[in-house]
Symmetry: D2
Subunit: 348 residues, 4 copies
């Protein structure tokens, strides 16, 4: 069978190496081109010596048009503002693109510009781009030319909230998302606050009034609810390499029980391999999702205070980034959605 | 000057060793008696070899009445249900007591019985016991015979919420406390979930509907507000040895700004050495409080959603337990409140 | 093609879960039977929730004879002294066995009895058992009925030392092996010294005069050298979940250079996928082998002192245990030696 | 009593903050001047927010001569090559100096120049400088004007080896020092290899042929032995914030037992508060020395192989740097050697 030829731009960041990890075991994918401006000419395994003998591909500085001749799909792991320069060229050259930046996640250019402080050079593409959560946009992904891979916090939040919003079971104001990320979410870089000695005892909130993912979460929650929603979102950083946890608070409309809510979630996600609704009495734990494409979700109704509590855990580089991109690629290319993705869990 | 003779019951748990750490440098305290049922006859430094040469005291199995002849103050670090057996004997023998369990923290025996599932053997002592947060009960502590040292989550939550509640600036329903503890909060024990390999990648919520500290938080919040309050409280566990962080959400009554709120907090805590109200643009970080008796608090008003966000960080064994007990002892004995406590910070 | 039906006894320990991780992606293996005495009746994924949806097999308490009807190969991850009771029954019932204990690693029952303080119930099997390092016993493994999977320290030490010993390039007395293991080497258990709070700041030597792996290392070094060898071995524990590092000192016979030594190692291991001889100027790092079946080795000659320094790193649960067992299984069953094993590396 | 006025140059590095931690509780010291070129004008507690309320001193860019008017003693925590520019000016201005760099640790300028690749601008000061291990040079320190505070690896190695060398109990060739440092040894900086995500699973050797501390260890070992010694030294890095462990191998001259060796060590260090010789059956553990000025040492004779094994643990920033500097200061100023240093241990 013809394999999908895949290229990666930004192959040496943490999303890049996770893409290589996942795609290396993909039976239908051939990794044809790894682009890294910083390390062009070196082997991928020079940068990540764990990959000696597994992926010794020489990193290139291919132009988008050169990539188009080598690839059916290009996955871009570039900073926002850079993606929007590169992606149109790739699309024009005839390749499909899965982009990891914030540049194509918004339906509305104004929201992008508010969130990222940049004017959008190709707002017309926003209408075409598919937001890459397969559990929400599976149909659209089957024909997508451009997929905007979601942020980690949005994936973790939206999959937890969508069923309640879609069914109108919670009030749309007053939703609170309290989330904690591992340090790899900051990317591969040498900043003092992310150095081992500064970070290893540090648990802290950050960007508590204006994190960019807020508007991305609000867009998708609004679409699920059919009305405009604002959410209160607070990100935190914990001393871990990988993993993300969200604890979400919402007010139910009408009566409910934990059991009913759980049944709803199980039904809503019954066709979704990578969403695991936990049974009563168990709660998500990052240890159970690290290295994988799974998201674990639990829902509880707190009788004492009348609040619904949602809990979701995923790997910020897995379902929160690179592995979800591979899931989207599987849908886009007509492959079984779980191919190459089921067995990446870490064990212990 | 006559030193205060202090004894510790439960000296080999994590609260015990932190008490020894703090009291070892206290110029007005003589540690006269370390009781440990499990390790009686051994030296304290056999259990904690870091203390060889610092505290080689032989652990004893003294009875309460024997302790009374050796001690002016006894600090008990015992499980709930056990403290309530031991403390009355100590008081009857004429010593002052600072207790770390939940047994004397409640004004109302019924709330204790609901929270801990035990009937209280000496409910009359509840009226006398002083809740040991000096910032709230300094006056009462000066004459206290029995101090109930608060839980770590309650200390972290109440000090953050009290100014707003006292001044009637927030709605009393809908308060949400989302808090994260380090693993030492579970105590010194050999449980599989707290083993290094199981815990080191694990970030998770627990006891999300019924943590015992909920009612303790509610009691003190209600007293501050002058009316009954229920709060939504969700504890989490992060892979760290020490530290605690709370992120709290509340709805303001009337208009407010971050600056006004910050000014209020600075004023409210202007006389409290160990409460540090952070300047605008900075947020609490467990790295800054580990090993110390400080609690760092920040307050922000989120204009977009109309929520007040409070952030507080402390060391669960420090201001959240043993060091706050020493602070209470200082007040009870008429010493400068900060004596022996200012310089315990860890550096890095 | 007929798949190999594999069963695991001791499936819920850390070696067990790593076997499940590796065998779950093995195209030629069907996992037919997971035995756990402690958790019989529960799903494997109840014990390791990361495996929900990946391996929900019900754990059984199958007898060895029942296993024989379900399995072509049984992998035992049992304590020493227990394996020697179970393995003979399995062999008699006609299945091949790969055993993880120390029970079948010795050629000489007396050495086993000295090392483990037990008399051996079936010393005749020692002659038949193949020591399961494929790089050393590939030929023997192709026809093995019983494979004794080596210890982690021995694998890490022997693969580093074998080329020098085999070629008579170092003195056989005075060899020093200084090695460091991650905590998972102690197994899945709730011992206080392995609890997060006790272990997370603890770097320490242990069993410095009599670790059992010493005699195992000596046996294989002696076979490589063609004469009896004693080595000085010192194990240490570091605050990590997985990984092992050995630093080895030996005295060369005659002159040598780092380059010549490196060339020798490259030649000796040129046919061995999972042994990576590092180029000059680079050294092993556990970060590069965790999660994989690779062992990274570097060799340097220290001109100043005339010592050869060897460095080797592996994953104590990977090449040091479960994944090496799968490598042996591949050889025993005539499969490509690297099948299912090349792409288990963790990325970051 | 007149307090010693102390200044620190390089106050915001990890050695600097540890000096501030220790000196803040010193009853005989007044910290008069904190110099930081990078952060001049900011408060010390802006850089280390843990010190808000404890040390809010404004960092200055004082010249050496200005410092001389403010300080009796200046402690320099500067890079090598910089110290040798600054220290002579300070001495000329009449202050005593304790220097943390390698610039004044060598008796012989040629060894310095070989080790650091720099020519020494003031080799005459080498004769005057006292090597700052009080257990070895207590007498000399009482009159020292310039103290060269030793490296962390040298302190850890020399204190372990000195008794055997001094008494001629081991062969002087063939000594092997295998040591492991925590990451803070690399200093406060933003290098990628020391970032949390790169370092947290990384255990590795480094600089295995030419670490600068080798010659420093050799100098002091040679002085103890009364003859020239070369040692084999291998440093490693472990994923911890603080701590250091050395495992040392030597060949005895004549017969010996572990008990005799232990008795010798106990006698040799009987007057040294901060050297703890561990009883038989116990071994050093970094967890027991972190945060303190203690070094824990154990000695064993391995009957099987005829090797002596020495084990020593200290805190690389404590006894390995800043706290040892305070110990030296105590001796230089005629204070009790342990003042301000006994109670810095961390508890857990």
């Amino acid at each position: 069978m013809h394999k999908t030829r895949v290229g990666i731009i930004g192959a040496t960041g943490y999303v890049g190496v996770e893409l290589v990890r996942g795609l290396s075991v993909h039976p239908n994918v051939e990794l044809t081109c790894l682009v890294s401006r910083s390390f062009s000419g070196k082997a991928f395994s020079d940068i990540y010596p764990a990959y000696k003998g597994i992926c010794d591909t020489i990193l290139s500085d291919c132009s988008p048009s050169e990539m188009a001749s080598l690839c059916d799909v290009v996955i871009t792991a570039l900073p926002h503002g850079v993606s929007s320069q590169v992606v149109p060229v790739l699309l024009d050259a005839g390749v499909k693109v899965i982009d990891h930046s914030g540049d194509f996640r918004y339906r509305n250019a104004a929201t992008y510009e508010f969130s990222y402080g940049l004017s959008h050079p190709c707002p017309d593409l926003l209408a075409e781009a598919v937001y890459g959560i397969p559990e929400l946009y599976r149909e659209e992904l089957t024909t997508a030319r451009l997929t905007a891979n979601p942020g980690c916090y949005p994936t973790c939040s939206i999959l937890a909230l969508a069923p309640l919003l879609r069914h109108g079971l919670i009030k749309t104001d007053g939703i609170i998302i309290d989330a904690i990320s591992a340090i790899s979410g900051a990317g591969r870089k040498a900043d003092l606050p992310y150095s081992f000695c500064e970070a290893c005892d540090s648990l802290k909130p950050y960007a508590v009034l204006n994190h960019r993912h807020t508007t991305e979460i609000e867009q998708e929650c609004s679409l699920a609810a059919g009305k405009d929603i604002h959410v209160t979102f607070t990100p935190h950083l914990a001393p871990m390499k990988r993993g993300m946890l969200a604890t979400i608070y919402a007010d139910p409309i009408g009566e409910c029980t934990s059991e009913e809510l759980r049944a709803l979630y199980q039904k809503e996600y019954s066709g979704d391999t990578f969403v695991r609704i936990l049974p009563g009495g168990t709660l998500p734990d990052t240890a159970n999702v690290i290295g994988s494409n799974y998201i674990d979700i639990a829902v509880e109704f707190d009788r004492r205070t009348g609040k619904i509590k949602l809990f979701s855990a995923l790997d910020n580089l897995g379902k929160g980034a690179a592995l979800q991109a591979i899931q989207a690629l599987n849908v886009m290319q007509g492959y079984p959605e779980d191919i190459a993705l089921r067995n990446l869990s870490r064990g212990i």
